[in-house]
Amino acid sequence: MSKVTKGLEIPRLLQAALVIGGIYLAFWAVFDLLLGQPIPRSLMGMYMFFVVAGVFMVFTATEQSTRELVGPIRALVEDPSRRALRNVVFAVVPGLAAVGVFLQMQPSDEAPLELRSIHPAPPSSVKIFGKRYDLMSLENPYRHLEKDDPEQFRELVGTGGEVYIRNCQYCHGDKLDGKGPYAQGLNPVPLNFQDIGTIAQLQESFLFWRIATGGPGLPKEATPWISSMPVWEKFLSEDEIWQVILYLYDYTGHRPRSWGHE
């Protein structure tokens, strides 16, 4: 029985290749087919690099396994009887590499990739509505009402909701998911506030600064910035901005980043 099993054993090199191929296919099947959210090529490249490294680490952890893994490669290079196969491999492998490089370097109509920083760093202070605000200590003046006067707080959230529907939902969507009617016409697309990685990670002072000064108010240190966000201080009052911030957190169920205990 053991002899039969041994006869059917897959060579280690092939095993390694199958494991790597299997993991790649699994990523593709789960994210592309099942979830409909493909893994971007840049990230997939990083994932697969370390998957390959990990597979070779496991396959070379013992001497015997290493010998079995590199045995066919060593035989291909050193065994005189495999000369013909060696020549084919030595021609095909660099050829494939050349094709890969050619395909990657080929000019395309696609816009080049951009390393965009989604979270710009706020200045320590900013001038809005003719006043200077210290963003390090600025707090939403209505946040305390959440505990002190819940009824008034709900009213303010409602007012903030109205402001949002009148002004913001066209881009950020009525569900605050970044899928407003105009969203598809914009690049980059508007932020999805439902995402745990957006407003949930920020202090309210940050939102106040971003809403009030919009795209033109973005800092210079990581230019070029791309943003279609209007300068809302020209259209909304200070109170309306704070109220819309209350609404954003209330609707999404996120809590603003804060250092206070609840």
Partner: protein, 620 residues
Amino acid sequence: MRGLLTRCVALHPGFARWRWALSGLVALALAALVLGAAGEVQAGASDSAVEATQPVAGSLAPAVIAPPELTAADYPSITGVNSRVTVWLVAQLHLWFAAFVLAVPIFVFIIEAIGMRTRDKRYDDMAYEFIKISITAYSLTAILGGLLLFSLIVLYPHLFSYLSRVFGESMFYYALLFFAESAALYLYYYGWQWLQGGFRKWLHLTLGLVLNAVGTTLMFLANGWVTFMMSPAGLDPAGLFAGDTWAAMHNYLWNPINLHRFIANIAYGGSIVGAYAAFRFLSATRPEERAHYDWMGYNANFIAILALLPLPFAGYYLAAEIYAYSQQMGITLMGGIFAWLFIIQAVLIGTLFLSANYYLWCGMGRSDGAVRYNRYIKYLAIAIIGSFLVWFTPHTLVLTNEELKALGGPYHKYLGPLGIMPAKNTAVNVMILFTALSFLFYRRSNRIATVAWVKAGNAAQLALYTAGIANLLFLGIYHGYFTNTVYKVAASIPQVMTTLIIIVVSITLDSVMYRGAREVAPLNWGRVPNRAQYALFLLAVAFTWLMGLMGYIRSGIRQHWHVTDVFRDASPDAYTPTLGYAANVVSMGTVLFMAMVIFVFWLSQVSSRKTPNAGFWKAH
């Protein structure tokens, strides 16, 4: 005091000879105290001078120091020399060597103590060899420190003048302490063979302790200057320094950096001596030499891993404190322009874990009993690589337009949440736990437990790890995604505690289980593949690169400020370079440092080489 001395002499007849040496040490300590007290008096004098707004005669600090307002013309330039890159590289090289020479005495002291306790001379020899490597590196540290000082004086005179006026007294003590450090190090090294046995050995160990105390104080002083530039303290609202040097030193980020650097230095030192052992292993020609350097490499890797395990927690503490100090700095650090360098950082940290684990797995080949544990390696790898992928998944993705449309936004619906800290904290804790498990398997590989409750013990270990990982996941997911920031950040503490408790309990349980265990066969030191040595090299290179990268980020988050929000950088280089440019400078520094380290390794071999010279010298 006299009675104590008499009793000591009675206990150790040789003590009388050491009375004077001890007196010298006590005198040194007293001198330090007096100097410290003088500093207090001086600081007090400066305080009173603030009111008078007049400098106090004899005080290094004037009454009130205002940050200068400079223009580009105030920065001298040397043709063909880029001021920023020069200071950047020299400071980084100095720091790499300093980290190494401060770390080595810490674990040399511990290894020497282990040798004294176990009376196993191999530990003493290894400790001596470690300190021997650091001696040449010590000279290079001092040379680079001098070069840094002159570079600052020549290229950034106003900045240096400002800092030296704020920290004048501590800079003076720093120079004095450097003498003490040199004296302690040279006595410790050159006296190694002399101070052997009995009381002499205790005296030698005490010298090691003094060396470490002085070295750590030196680092804390320099950290105070560096962190003052990031989070200045002791200033009034107008940015004027009133003369309280201690307040400036004890600024917001001082202790987080102190802790982080102290732990990181040990891990780094371990990795560099590991690379030395690998270098000697690969160049060894005799089996006993290979066995010795294999053993040395194993111990160095052990030290590096031991310090590496708590390092992510110290790093997280530092980053959280930076965020708490300034939202602007925090976002610049991890969400803004430096975020992409953090992805490289994550990749390098993962590489450290992979190299350390791979070295352990390959090292199991030293034991004939390892075959029982080889089948578990793949599961360890799956957990570590899986956590590693989560660890470096970015929140903001690099997307083509096509991908942007396919995802419906710049964030990935399922992978995006892995890009924020709760997922990273959970992943790194799991990575640490499985690294500890690798070590546990390594320890077990050559032994067979003989206690009757082996099965129950293994079940308890399994339950411990399962419950611990479940707790890590609960804390990471629930507190990380469903509570506000304060609880999210706070959840990292029970996560750390979970990991530490599992490691401590598991190793304790294993030690009890394997007490009196049977050895499968004597360990075959030297029976380890060459590729394991390359893993040690990778560990050292990844550490060096990582430190360079993070050093740049730490300094870079000040952006166009010499001293944040107080003293503006008006030099022509007052802009944040592109990520590629910064990465190239850091890489260049890494190559330079590794070349210098290889020179140090080679130099340590040269002293033992002899060339036959018959016929050259005159016969007498």
